[in-house]
């Protein structure tokens, strides 16, 4: 790749902290600091700090902003109250997934959408080309924010130490405006790890102050910097899908298990609705399933899945679960075989047994 990597506002801080930098979605990002397993356990048992500034943000503003977003997404935005967030898919007209998003209703006329780093340009173009007419504007705010995620059972004590907001009063999938380390931020109780935690949207000019404030506030809790490596193992254990692996332009929300955020019974004729209705009535051809390898080894992306002599599917995410200490994965299995309790995964020419599951591999105790 001739083009140079983009950097996040805190890149120098990551390098100084010993972050091992790698290219991800065109950005130079820390994949780990001390080690993926150690960072993983820190988030499960204490608290970790992630820089997720590579994520993009798009804001819709104006009297018709709500309707304009509703037209683009599979989930029902009318259910949101001010300050509430929602997970959703955004689809092509043919029902293929453009991206998965977190949508915030900041106000009756202000909707903020957090999009995946790799899809920033694609999403904005899609939103533009499917833009309904109305009284609103659409603004790409991706370069305005740094984003830090504080994740783990002790996240709340770290955040509370440096904010004037009552962090405990922010319910899961809600957000509040407030000062963090003296900087005006949006503090969201969301995450991609399966633990309690916060994602803080910070104006770029305040990124360093918030980062330093969090690092200091995190000392009593034993907070550690965490990289994208454990972000992936944490999300996989929690069975959170990854765009580009478990969802692509060629997968639809029903086969991806995103029926719960695909609201077909509402009046809005959102982009992709009629295609998804047609898929629903004819039935999906494959379904995403969790996989747990029954022998030593590691499931990886693109490994074929077998039932008997039939090749029935393909792994879309795979790896090692530091919590379970065995390999887990996600993969699409042809609908005729998707209820098989055991399958085989071909690893370097050998077929290794795996069990299937519809549930997350890990669920936190509340």
């Amino acid at each position: 790749m001739a083009q140079t990597m983009k950097s996040v506002p805190l890149e120098a801080e990551h390098i100084a902290a010993g972050g091992k930098m790698v290219e991800f979605a065109g950005y130079s990002m820390p994949v780990q600091y001390t080690g993926i397993k150690e960072e993983h356990h820190v988030v499960r048992n204490g608290v970790g700090l992630f820089d997720v500034s590579h994520m993009g943000e798009v804001e819709f503003r104006g009297p018709d902003a709500l309707a304009a977003v509703d037209h683009l997404i599979t989930n029902d935005i009318s259910k949101l109250v001010d300050g509430q967030a929602m997970y959703t898919a955004m689809c092509h007209a043919n029902g293929g997934i453009v991206d998965d998003l977190v949508v915030y209703r900041l106000g009756a006329e202000r909707i903020l959408i957090c999009v995946n780093a790799a899809n920033r340009e694609k999403d904005f173009e899609h939103m533009k080309s499917h833009k309904m007419s109305g009284n609103f504007e659409m603004v790409d705010r991706g370069e305005e924010f740094a984003q830090l995620a504080i994740q783990g059972p002790k996240a709340i004590q770290v955040v509370q130490a440096i904010t004037d907001i009552d962090a405990a009063a922010i319910p899961y999938y809600h957000a509040a405006d407030g000062r963090v380390a003296g900087v005006e931020c949006l503090v969201s109780r969301t995450g991609y790890t399966g633990e309690d935690g916060f994602e803080v949207y910070i104006p770029v000019s305040g990124a360093k102050a918030v980062f330093e404030g969090l690092m200091e506030a995190g000392i009593p809790a034993g907070m550690q910097l965490c990289g994208l490596g454990c972000r992936d193992t944490l999300r996989l254990e929690s069975k959170f899908l990854l765009y580009g692996n478990d969802m692509t332009d060629d997968t639809n929300p029903l086969e991806a298990g995103l029926g719960w955020v695909t609201k077909l019974d509402r009046d809005t004729d959102f982009v992709g609705k009629s295609s998804i209705e047609a898929i629903k009535s004819s039935g999906v051809t494959r379904r995403l399933r969790g996989l747990v390898l029954q022998e030593r080894g590691v499931i990886r992306h693109d490994y074929p899945i077998f039932v008997g002599d039939n090749e029935v599917g393909i792994v879309t995410s795979g790896g090692y679960s530091p919590t379970l200490e065995q390999s887990i994965g996600l993969g699409y299995i042809a609908v005729e075989f998707c209820d098989a309790e055991s399958v085989e995964i071909e690893i370097r020419g050998r077929r290794i047994p795996a069990t299937t599951t519809k549930k997350p591999f890990y669920k936190r105790k509340d």
Binding site: Q32, G35, I36, K37, T233, R296, V298, Y320, P322
Partner: protein, 128 residues
Amino acid sequence: MQQIPADLKYTKDHEWVRDEGDGVVTIGITHYAQEALGDIVYVELPAPGNSVEAHGECCVVESVKAVSDVYSPVSGEIIETNHNLDSSPDLVNETPYTDGWMMKIKLSDVSELDGLLDAEGYMIFLTP
């Protein structure tokens, strides 16, 4: 600072070789290699009795991040593998030159050892 024991030989693929005498060598991967791989969670060892070629794949190492081949530094017959790695693959991270050894090979051509890097040569190879 790289750990490069003076009594071992090395390859540009980041394997190390210890000459045990009697035409037998022990091999493993270097400190540099284990650090680049990150947390190792599985080592797929070959069966003793198999023969290997110099530069041929002899073993697979899975880290949390990725899967990587280990290439045999020498040709010969695998006479023993380190079964402690079955239950503790992280030995390769913790002590790559000692408890993290991978296999012993009976050399088919002792002169292949002369083509390997010594500690100084490997250090120069690693120096950017």
